[in-house]
């Protein structure tokens, strides 16, 4: 949870995906590594199997949100960061208890009148096979993933317009 002047105060980081599908579970591994990283100390670090509507409340209470997820639309091993905009809530996912990042942001705006900047750190997976460990190749990329999150936290406020021009990477899991 947030405390005092810690660098991560007010920051919510959500790593999500299926921990039993190798690289799809990278969000979980990223959160474990971020928990030990002083550059994000004080941040609220969550891991989830999938995004759910309840996270709209967490979004609304945060000053900055970072989502970490495997993205099949990104080249394997690449780390892509994008600033997310709200989307029209997608009924197909929302009413079935999981939700896409844009809809989640839209819910936070509509229900709680709060719109924190939301970044998606999308990472290209090498494997989505069964297994509770990420692939060795992705293991080597993990420091970049952690650095990307730490950089967003360090540069918050001025990072938004810069990162907007980064390669886009859909954040859906």
């Amino acid at each position: 949870m947030t405390t005092g002047k810690a660098p991560g105060a007010g920051v919510l980081v959500v790593g999500y995906g299926n921990r039993l599908r190798t690289d799809d579970g990278l969000g979980w591994h990223a959160i474990e590594q971020l928990a030990e990283d002083p550059r994000v100390s004080g941040a609220d670090l969550l891991w989830r199997h999938q995004l759910t509507p309840e996270l709209a409340l967490d979004f609304a209470q945060a000053s900055l949100v970072i989502l970490v997820d495997a993205s099949a639309d990104v080249e394997p091993g690449a780390v892509a960061v994008r600033l997310l905009g709200p989307a029209v809530p997608d009924d197909r996912t929302l009413m079935s208890h999981h939700i896409d990042p844009g809809s989640l942001l839209a819910l936070a705006i509509e229900l709680y009148d709060r719109a924190p900047p939301v970044y998606v750190v999308g990472v290209g997976p090498f494997s989505m096979d069964d297994g509770d460990r990420i692939s060795p190749a992705l293991e080597r990329v993990m420091p970049q993933v952690v650095d990307a999150v730490a950089e967003i936290v360090a540069n918050r406020g001025r990072a938004a317009h810069e990162l907007k021009d980064s390669p886009e990477a859909p954040g859906g899991s």
Binding site: H49, L57, R92, S96, L107, L111
Partner: protein, 517 residues
């Protein structure tokens, strides 16, 4: 529903389970995409309406509606078209792995499987778990009830219930709720978050937690978690009370649905305490008849198979449990919120009992209409919250003796709890080394299978007319299923979201219309 069963062998094991299952033509092609395409190609031209919309139920199902020459509904069939086979592939695993393995059956109610499985393992170990552990497990279970009932009411059913069954399908969704009932949506999100957070606070993980183990739990309650939860409880209780008040003002606007949504006389089953009060975590089984008369009471978990038989259906992977003394198919009984409130003499907590009294005053002592599952679900959510308060107020909840240790002392074990959707039975057999040799899981949606089938027939007769399915009729057919909040993933121990397909069949079996979600 047509009689289409094979009856089990009397030991909770259904006939045909161990070998390839027979399947009706419609289902035989399901696993084989090419065969399915070929079968469709042979059919006469048909209208097919595809609604690009994922249904709000867990699992995959197909409904067939049969018509006579006059175009009137004669029968319906509810096919559940998936299987995973947890009972089979767990054979050979150590019994103490079962809680972790079986909780993977479902991402919605993993806690229920975890608890029923842990109780079955307790039985194998022949231990009585420490008092604190039992209270902590019940606390976890109450949190599971709150989050699951919130999910069912607010996320899955609210678009129909608060916007109307015949409201514009384009607006009968979250956008519609956002526009017309944002407060209810906020309440739903807050309530589910409260339940999920408590699960996480207790068990570290909100989905597939590993805190509950054979013999108890693996860590005592952190006093700070107790304080936090006690501080948050009043707001959660206020949400449920507000929602019950809203529902009491709304429910009477659904006279047709109340009359025709699974409004069929059946038996009911649920756990009760020694005084007949509602029990969710512990207790013995009680069965009542359609008139409310108790036909079996204080049935010990290890005697369940004397009262519950299981039939397998030729066209569905979902088995059909029945009340054995009556036999199949007439021994239809229901479980879940509606059944539990019919079965129990009282809830046992003050606010829930007050609501239960009004519920019974409005609807009668025995409530038959499946539509009232929603109302019953809200009262149970209130009970679960009050029960949390009682458990947290008990100093024993902070005890530090939370786990009993033992080896294999029984070669079989049975664990029964009331999951949010109804009675959940885990029955295991092991060898001397504790390796699983046999498992039988009877899940809430399975218990309700025959009743769901009768409900579908009833609503189809009421709302399907002629050779075409109207969207409103499709929604009502789905809604009658949704009343039971079925988890087809659990009931077949299968994975995925429900894609519902409804087929209208003429007297010669010709597909006259088809709608798919």
């Amino acid at each position: 529903m047509a009689n289409r069963s094979k009856v089990g062998d009397g030991n909770g094991r259904a006939a045909g389970l161990d070998g390839p299952r027979p399947a009706a033509d419609a289902l035989a092609a399901q696993p084989d995409a090419d065969a399915t395409r070929a079968a469709k190609a042979r059919r006469p031209a048909m209208r097919k309406i595809t609604i690009d919309h994922v249904s709000r139920i867990e699992g995959h199902a197909t409904i067939s509606i049969m018509l006579d020459d006059a175009g009137q509904v004669t029968d319906t069939q509810f096919h559940v078209t998936q299987i995973r086979g947890f009972e089979k592939f767990t054979e050979g695993r150590p019994y103490y792995e079962m809680p972790s393995i079986t909780s993977r059956i479902c991402g919605i109610c993993p806690v229920s499987h975890l608890l029923a499985s842990s109780k079955a393992c307790d039985d194998i170990m022949a231990v009585r778990i420490p008092e604190t552990a039992a209270k902590l497990r019940e606390l976890l279970h109450c949190a599971q009830f709150v989050q699951s009932h919130a999910l069912s009411f607010f996320y899955l059913s609210a678009p129909d219930l608060l916007l109307g069954m015949d409201s514009d399908p384009a607006k009968r969704n979250v956008a519609g709720l956002l526009a017309e009932h944002p407060d209810a949506l906020r309440d739903g999100i807050a309530l589910r978050k409260f339940g999920q957070q408590l699960i996480e606070r207790l068990a570290r993980e909100r989905v597939h937690p590993s805190w509950t183990v054979p013999g108890g739990v693996n860590a005592p309650l952190d006093p700070r978690a107790r304080e936090k939860t006690l501080a948050e409880l009043p707001a959660a209780i206020a949400i449920v009370k507000r929602t019950i008040a809203l529902w009491k003002k709304t429910v009477d606007s659904f006279p047709n649905e109340i009359e025709s949504f699974s409004n069929v006389p059946t038996m009911y089953c649920g756990l009760v305490g020694p005084d007949g009060s509602l029990r969710l975590y512990d207790g013995n089984l009680r069965f009542i008849g359609p008139d409310g008369a108790i036909v079996a009471d204080q049935v010990k978990p290890n005697d369940y198979a004397t009262y519950i038989g299981e039939a397998t259906l030729s066209d569905s992977y979902l088995k059909a449990p029945y009340y054995r003394p009556v036999g199949y198919p007439d021994g239809v009984y229901r479980v879940g919120p509606l059944a539990r409130l019919n079965v129990a003499d009282r809830c046992g907590t003050p606010e829930a009992d007050k609501e239960l009294a009004e519920y019974r005053e409005r609807l009668g002592r025995i409530v038959q209409s499946g539509f009232h599952y929603h109302y019953a679900r809200l009262i149970e959510a209130l009970y679960a919250l009050e029960r949390m308060q009682e458990l947290l107020d008990d100093p024993a909840i902070l005890g530090t003796k939370v786990r009993a240790h033992a080896g294999v002392n029984n070669l079989q074990g049975i664990g029964i709890i009331e999951a949010p959707r109804g009675t959940l039975i885990h029955h295991y057999k092991v060898d001397d080394n504790g390796a699983m040799t046999w498992a039988n899981l009877i899940v809430a949606t399975g218990h309700n299978n025959l009743a769901i089938g009768r409900g579908i027939l009833q609503v189809a007769k009421r709302f399907v007319d002629g050779d075409k399915i109207q969207e409103g009729a499709l929604n009502r057919i789905e809604s009658v299923i949704r009343c039971y909040d079925p988890c087809l993933s659990c009931s077949t121990h299968a994975l995925g979201q429900m894609a519902l397909q409804v087929q209208l069949l003429g007297p010669d079996g010709t597909v006259m219309d088809e709608l798919a979600r």
